[in-house]
Symmetry: none
Subunit: 215 residues, 4 copies
Amino acid sequence: MRKIDPIKHEKKRQEILAAAKRCFLRSGLSGASTAQICAEAGISPGHLYHYFESKDAIIAAMADARLEGTSERFKQDVYGGGSVISALLSEIEEQPANPAQSALFFEMLAESRRNPEMAKILHGRSRSMRNLIAEVIRHGQAQGEIQPELDPETAAMAIFGLMDATKAVSLHDPKQDIKKITALFKLLVDRLLSSDAKTAKPSRARKSAQRSRSA
Amino acid sequence: MRKIDPIKHEKKRQEILAAAKRCFLRSGLSGASTAQICAEAGISPGHLYHYFESKDAIIAAMADARLEGTSERFKQDVYGGGSVISALLSEIEEQPANPAQSALFFEMLAESRRNPEMAKILHGRSRSMRNLIAEVIRHGQAQGEIQPELDPETAAMAIFGLMDATKAVSLHDPKQDIKKITALFKLLVDRLLSSDAKTAKPSRARKSAQRSRSA
Amino acid sequence: MRKIDPIKHEKKRQEILAAAKRCFLRSGLSGASTAQICAEAGISPGHLYHYFESKDAIIAAMADARLEGTSERFKQDVYGGGSVISALLSEIEEQPANPAQSALFFEMLAESRRNPEMAKILHGRSRSMRNLIAEVIRHGQAQGEIQPELDPETAAMAIFGLMDATKAVSLHDPKQDIKKITALFKLLVDRLLSSDAKTAKPSRARKSAQRSRSA
Amino acid sequence: MRKIDPIKHEKKRQEILAAAKRCFLRSGLSGASTAQICAEAGISPGHLYHYFESKDAIIAAMADARLEGTSERFKQDVYGGGSVISALLSEIEEQPANPAQSALFFEMLAESRRNPEMAKILHGRSRSMRNLIAEVIRHGQAQGEIQPELDPETAAMAIFGLMDATKAVSLHDPKQDIKKITALFKLLVDRLLSSDAKTAKPSRARKSAQRSRSA
DNA sequence: CATGAATGAGTATTCATTCAT
DNA sequence: TATGAATGAATACTCATTCAT
């Protein structure tokens, strides 16, 4: 009569997911086999399918969890009193420290071209983060702190792209000092948002684009 | 006992490489099988190993050829009367139009973490491009057209990173207008290099940072 | 420490058996999994083994129940005032309407060659039906209504075989009108049993070969 | 430069097919694994797929070959101077001697309900054999040797069904004397075709329904 | 009586690679 | 130079069955 215990089930699922993530980080999306994942999770091959219906489902769940984590952290940063810029930068500063994570992310990005499920997950998460950035920019524009000519959507996409740029950079040259790059990117974002260097009020913007509470 | 004709041999090798690239673009690095490549190249499976000692060798050769192409085109742009900026932008503007190429590139980037051969190729090509950018920046700084505080290596890496950002952006949202993003990136690079955004003349930099020396 | 209630137990067993039969009809003997059966019966996988010791046991029980049903109906027809012929024909007329049942039956027949348990069940039920037919024939011969040269065992087997022929026919061409075939088979049986085709009175046999004794 | 030798290829294919058939006869359609088939054929698991694209393709090829054999032999019998009846009976007499073959056949018949490929093969072969029988009947009717009221299509199907009946009979009771049954079936067919026992000229037909050359 | 967790051998199939000709 | 035959380990996944609770 003992009914299913959803807490235990979910816990095991998360354990397996964590094991899977370690495998994917180690061997890549297609390099990691279900056998490896089972071994890492300490379960039998058949048991894996008690929790996930396919390897693709594991990949999807892992990708979703990972991006949700990033997205959530980002949201916290933005709403938690920081500026868009600092939120962006905290993200930029965290990821590149882990090239394995970056590599896995790029595999997911590549995968999204062939796997519609992956595309849905990735595009969805990506869009929500960009929407958040765009919203903050609009808010800043309303306050006169961000130059009004800037298209919020485009700027959001560009800023978002810098996160991936940072990841790429860390893979292009693992030994370099990523701090310098992020500092430069910070400068770039700062200037982008500022009420335009060419048009009079340049210095104000640099310290302005924060305060965004909205949701 | 026929001696091999090195010219014919090399020609066939290139044909196979081209076929392989089509397969990799279509199905991904691990998704494309040697059987597919042979079919695409119109040769028998055994014959493939007459030209390449393994699938990894094909991937390496393909990656090398692809990056050499990019690098060479970039060099042409820089030396061919254009500015670093325009060279960078022509690269930025070309790639994202082809998400398949972008995806393949990111797969190569990810692969470089696990495959030392791939790492050697990718890091080498990446470094030589960044060196070129850095050199141009130094030249510009000597001429007083680029702000002197800028660390050329760091700036080069940042600019280089924007190429990958553009690729990533095109995969994050395939439907968007990539032109707008590249225009924004162009503006960013422009401001980064210009003697100083705060000091009015940003446009000069655009046509200045050219003419560097030989490789 | 509850004692089991044999009535409830048997009821549940029958429910599972019914569920299993639906699965076998849908997916075939080896195509239906125990998981499917459990789902169809609304029980957990472990619980299945409380009622049956193996999948083979389920198949055996299902086969036995099915054949017992056929056999019983047949007996009813024979004893219930009808003739052997009409009993046979009612069976013939009912089954082919359901190709799924026919297919399942043939799978059981094939299985009987490899599975001794299945062979025992199938041969037993088959024999008892044929014995019944043979007995009726003997009775008819004693009455002078069925030609005396006919070997009752052989004739019984032949008549019995026509049932399977009807099933086979319906699978060979699902779209055809099975009524025509059964009418023809009826005619054949009629002629076979009649005192002699050559001696004019064939119609008498039709209503004659009834009334036999108990099992 | 050695081009493919289609004869050797086909020979090997037939060898594998023969091995597969032995496995299917031994273990059944779903009971025989590709691993078993490979072992029986003396090839590696991967090599099987050099000759067949799937297990289903093997089954289909085997089924087709088997039915083609039956059909061809039947055609020979009919055109080779014998009567329809003797052709039918030679088929009837051959198969039941091998219950394994009968069992396999019934598995194919059952499979045809779920597998459209199998249905196509089986229905096609079945139809062509029935067409042949019907044609012979029509010829006999034109000659006045077969009763004219008989619908040739229906009669053909019924006669065809008797083949399967014989197979079924041999599985229902493997120990019995199949000769007696076939003799009885012969009698049935004979009477069916004869110009009707009830309507005057009965004896002629019995020795008549031969001579059929037509195609 | 009943659950769902867990097993592990087994499934068809793929694939990079080698070999004989 | 070139072929297609052949390999065998590996792949994702299934399934009847057992076990702890």
